[in-house]
Symmetry: C2
Subunit: 156 residues, 2 copies
Amino acid sequence: MSLEIERKFLVNSEAFIKEASSKVRIVQGFLTKDPNRVVRIRIKGDEGFITIKGISNENGTTRFEWEKKIPINDAESLLKLCLPGIIDKTRYEIPIWKHLYEVDVFEGDNEGLVIAEVELENENDSFQKPKWLGKEVTGDSKYYNSQLSEHPYKNW
Amino acid sequence: MSLEIERKFLVNSEAFIKEASSKVRIVQGFLTKDPNRVVRIRIKGDEGFITIKGISNENGTTRFEWEKKIPINDAESLLKLCLPGIIDKTRYEIPIWKHLYEVDVFEGDNEGLVIAEVELENENDSFQKPKWLGKEVTGDSKYYNSQLSEHPYKNW
């Protein structure tokens, strides 16, 4: 259980790919997208997870998050119960200075969308911005995965 | 992960109490009550659980159910995220012949309601009905805990 502090950005080039330290496929769905109590089922590589996210503070940077690893077979069964709009993406991890950027390259109905996130220790933690980082979209709900599953990028 | 086969009944006397083999307090809430994908957080005695229930078959006896034990502190935090309408009840377990009846005595907004459930091995499994068993309410959604939390017995 933790309070998540993260900043979210668009990505303006594929230059991040050659800096990546890892790459993994993520398939995820939602049992509820209610922003006060999001419940997400995720398969990341060969691991399953259930994650529950609570309300954000007003600028969208701090959010309650609870996550538990579950057997991948359970995750596959639970994905079948999820709301329509399964998200499929590839996640690259890119260490920059003392932080780890996660860059998600979306597929399917969200193809063309590339989003970078960096998790900070506190709201005043300073971090380096790589050249491929674009416009900040922290707190913009249309970039939440829960929203992308209902209102995908191809319909924007 | 399992398919649940259960029959549900009202209870017409307190005679079950002296036959009970165990008694435990249960406090529970819901992250979503969508009947296709119910997500429940429960504290049972000193243990925490997360449970996900899928759709029923048409007569309401068979239902997908997935449950995982979680730390009680996590369950307490997750209960705070739940939808309004926390359920508070005492559960008695009563072994009768080869089955175990669970009788829930509700408190708070559902005080006065007493419901018995028996889980069967398959839809044709025979079972004994004790004298304190009343009208069958299997499949009647108003007796679902998810519904009782929104439309409590005191308002019926």
